[in-house]
Amino acid sequence: MNKSDSSHAFTPELARSIYRKAYLINRTDQRFRAMLTNGELAVAYYPVRGQEVTAAAAMSALQPEDYLVTTYRGLHDSLAKGIPSRLLWAEFAGKRTGTCKGKGGPMHITYPPTGVMVTTGIVGSGIPIANGLAMAAQIRGENRVAVASFGDGASNIGAFHEALNMASVWKLPVVFLCQNNQYAEHTTLAAGTSVTSIAERAAGYGMPGVSCDGLDPEMMYQTMAAAVARARAGDGPTLVEAHTYRLQGHIFGADYSYIPKEELKAAEERASMMRLRQRISERQVTESDLAQIEQEVDAEIEDAVAFALKSDPPDPDEIRFDIYETEQAA
């Protein structure tokens, strides 16, 4: 990778692309929650409202062939890494036309064509797996980077610590993206975590740790792009902490009255799409550009919803397949 490719300029084109991703995430999350509310769908869902910009900007620092391992609160990452809306919606709805034929569901999205290799429902478990993707790239001499995306709560589980140590020892081309949304399930960062900044933990593993405002598209993008460039250059891993916010309960429908009202109000303001729109429009992106993006995305989502709803569920007989390469006697 040459120098000019690794410059991290926040161009109008990039601003438009990040806005498109963030708007897509926001409206998909909103539409999905509405369908859960009115009973059109009934599935466990971990809302991403508040974290749209974080994923949109961070994933924009990756190439399509770069790998992503994300977590059950991963709709934003999946969309930002380019999974087509139709396939994602169909999987969320448990249809045979989904990314995983309806066998994975919202917590277990995989889509190799855009580098989404694993979505895990086990907190922190994707972090060692991202190391393996990076290790393979390193052995093969490929120019790919792997990203592990996880929350602040995951930084308290053993897999995080084992994986960061190993990645540092082996100088793996991996970026650890901690989306610090301030809550591990119902527990605040202060109540469950020994440090006030997750990025501080990097020092214990001999790697750089960088904190940024994950709701600022430019800062998020540039912080991530620098970490990705470092990994790609063979200089090893970085722990990136994106300060973001979870504006909903842990799981859709759950009570979140434990979040102080003033705190929530301030976060809603910081994470609002209006605010993002304003910031993006300061980057030579015109009102008509933004309106066109919104119109296109709205149409894309309606098309995806219709596709998901009209698709067939998997045939019950499908349970026999994909357990092993060849079917075993049951």
């Binding site: 995989t110 190799p112 393996g132 993707l133 994909d322 357990i323």
Partner: protein
């Protein structure tokens, strides 16, 4: 077979060496596996990092979750990692990667990814390691759809099973017995394969079937010799693959002998023997001349002191007695 003799340890080393020579995607990771750290605590990977480099033969930190997680990640993009988890009990701190990820990613991804990894691990009672270094945990893994578990009873099978495990498109746990490494036997030809899921008849007989695997095969063959002295012809089935196991081979043998004893080193309750016994009863109930017997270790933690460890482990005499139970019952009925 080549006419030469080889030990278990040498057979496993040769299998890794030949697999790495054949396929650049085969790699090894585990604690102390590179030559600078001794080529593995049991020397199974000795010489390989010098030959193939420390990128493909990686000594790791003592971090089993990170080892198996890295193996999962590499496997889903087509590497063929062979992870050494020194002792089977240490897998317990990394169960998540095997049970929630290696076993399930093929299914949960709708077949978009698969996890062709191998976990080599050793264990076994009888050498005084006590409660946390000796357990046979194969039934834990056999209970998880998506995993395969195999174990060899002789060096040639160790070579052939490891080669097949590396070839396989699904995750395979290969259990080695700590008492086996120095044991010798006929050396296989390079490239020999033992197909997964296929049992072998280690000794033919018509009166009672001894179904076993791993260390139990040698002990069952000894028991079969003692039984032969009494005029009882025992057939010994070496399962080789514990999951998915070769039901047809077992059913064919028991249909012939009408009596079965299952022998394993793992403790009896909820062990592999329970499933095998249940399946024999389901398929061959009306053919059986006696209830299926199980020989297994005593359901305690593996003890340290020799008299206790001896009391824990099943014995050859236990196998003979269990065979007698099937034949006596047949005579009494």
């Amino acid at each position: 077979m080549s006419g030469k003799t080889i030990s278990f340890g040498q057979a496993l080393n040769a299998a890794l060496d030949d697999a790495m020579a054949d396929d650049g995607n085969v790699m090894i990771l585990g604690e102390d596996v590179a030559d600078e750290q001794g080529g593995g605590v049991f020397k199974v990977s000795k010489g390989l990092s010098s030959k193939y480099g420390t990128s493909r033969v990686r000594s790791t930190p003592i971090s089993e979750q990170a080892i198996l997680g890295a193996a999962v990640g590499a496997a889903i993009i087509g590497m063929r990692p062979v992870a050494e988890i020194m002792l089977m009990n240490f897998i317990t701190v990394a169960m998540d990667q095997l049970v929630n990820h290696a076993a399930k990613l093929r299914f949960m991804s709708g077949g978009q990814t698969n996890v062709p990894l191998v976990v080599r691990t050793t264990t076994g009672a009888g050498v005084g390691f006590g409660g946390q270094h000796s357990d046979m945990l194969e039934a834990w893994f056999a209970h998880v759809p998506g995993l395969k578990i195999a174990t060899a009873s002789n060096p040639a099978d160790a070579y052939g099973l490891l080669r097949s495990a590396i070839d396989d498109e699904d995750p395979v746990i290969l259990i080695e017995n700590i008492t086996h490494y120095g044991m010798t036997g006929p050396a296989p030809e390079a490239g020999y394969r033992v197909p997964l899921g296929k049992a072998a008849i280690a000794r033919e007989g018509r009166d009672v079937t001894l179904v076993t695997y791993g260390r139990g095969v040698g002990d069952s063959l000894k028991a079969a010799s003692l039984l032969a002295d009494e005029g009882i012809a025992a057939e010994v089935i070496d399962l080789r693959t514990i999951a998915p196991w070769d039901e047809q081979a077992v059913f064919a043998s028991v249909a012939k002998t009408k009596r079965a004893v299952i022998v394993h080193e793992a403790v009896r309750p909820f062990g592999a023997g329970a499933e095998i016994s249940a399946r024999i009863h389901e398929e061959l109930f009306s053919d059986l001349l006696a209830p299926v017997q199980r020989v297994a270790s005593y359901p305690s933690p593996v003890p340290f002191a020799k008299p206790l460890e001896t009391a824990f482990l099943y014995s050859v005499d236990d196998i003979v007695r269990a065979a007698h139970a099937t034949t006596d019952k047949a005579i009494n009925s």
